[in-house]
Symmetry: C3
Subunit: 184 residues, 3 copies
């Protein structure tokens, strides 16, 4: 088997897809590296559902696995230099898929008129954390020149998706949703 470590990045440079060498703090590397971090945090959130049961749990987990999968493809797109062909391209329909899921969950949730504290079940709090890491990825993506604009939209919508997923999982598992108090 090929070794996982190649030592080729030991001097602070790395390769994009098609082989172009860039510094490890290049805007593209920052952006797909942060998608990888968001992806890992989603994995942590899912791990807290192990052994828990609620109606529709299997669907919930499937939907999040699908998001993890698409995040890899978003990462591949971010790792492709702008003058090269992207092997798999994000489409408008992937964003619409997120929006439909948001609408569906939202119908089952009490409407919000204020912020909520990240609170309740571990899976919910980890989804809030994944939400904020996704927003960090969104900020990193802004610095990339000539990126596919759909990637920026997808990451934006994904953070709203994770917000609603965090609320939904609390509702299903009886985790407490705490509203932000105005007077302190």
């Amino acid at each position: 088997m090929a070794r996982i470590y190649t030592r080729s990045g030991d001097k602070g440079q790395t390769s994009l897809i098609y082989g172009k060498r860039v510094a490890k703090n290049d805007a593209r590397v920052e952006a797909y590296g942060t998608c990888d971090e968001a992806n890992s945090m989603i994995g942590l959130a899912l791990s807290f559902l192990d052994g828990k049961q609620f109606d529709g749990k299997d669907d919930f987990v499937d939907v999040l696995h699908r998001v993890q999968t698409i995040l890899f493809h978003v990462g591949a797109e971010l790792a492709t230099p702008s003058d090269k062909e992207v092997a798999w391209k994000l489409k408008q329909e992937h964003i619409e898929e997120l929006e439909k899921q948001i609408d569906q969950w939202d119908k089952e949730l009490p409407p919000l008129k204020n912020f909520i504290l990240p609170s309740g079940h571990s899976a919910s709090a980890a989804l809030h954390t994944a939400r904020t890491v996704t927003r960090r990825a969104e900020r990193a993506a802004v610095a990339i020149e000539d990126a596919n604009p759909l990637v920026q939209s997808y990451i934006n919508r994904l953070s709203d998706f994770l917000f609603v997923a965090a609320r939904y999982v609390n509702q299903q598992l009886g985790g407490e949703e705490r509203n932000l108090k105005a007077d302190i």
Copy 2:
């Protein structure tokens, strides 16, 4: 109900309070986005206390909910352009409140003469993580021009508060505190 997603940030810009448009990687957005991340990590730490008991647990949880609430107000202050009125302003007394709590917990803890490894109970390790994310927020806040200096102080003190909270929760729950070994 108003939809949570407005699509208005799909092009990489967003609004501060009062509506000023800025790039999503503007220094202010980086800083309050990182406060949001620290807030979520505190929520994750609290979730690990579910079902655990120790003397003074309710107070401990209340104090951390209060910190989460104040972090939102810190976020609102960071989201207000420097030429505009801040609706709610952080005061010196909020910093003193953290200091008093640090002193109170510290009295119950063995004195430290060295670093400790983030270790022990999940709630403690997550508080250490929240501490380091808070320090990242502090670094991000440095880049803001004309910020309220009390905000910088509050975030600084908050990371010390979270360090002591991490130690305290280990002590209460019997989590192991590991000192850094000098000889390796």
Copy 3:
């Protein structure tokens, strides 16, 4: 006892080892601050092993405690200005130690021909998260002038080490390893 809070960093500056004052968003502070964050995330991963049993668990935990300890020394090296003597210096053998451990775990694992989703046990998902935070530390270290090149190599190898550790712990605890699906 000396108070943990000194208030001396309230204006956004701090001290390196030997006392040189720098802004808190100086490249060195960013790099060792991110090592501290990776270290905390490793602590969180270890906390999820509490009460779990598998063959070789004690060795696994010892190896990760050793990594946490070395990360502190890496942090001290990053916190030393380039014109000053580093008290403890990272050596080539510390990198080889990681490589040997990677090889040993890898022998016990099914070979990979594709990416895997961060998934399975909480300890595994948290190690994936620690891996991505370590890669963020690696990106931050690139910006430091005249850093010890072994530090860059160590952090690079550490992210591969954490990848294999995440796989290994899933294997030992029966956590599911999910391959990335190509067709979506």
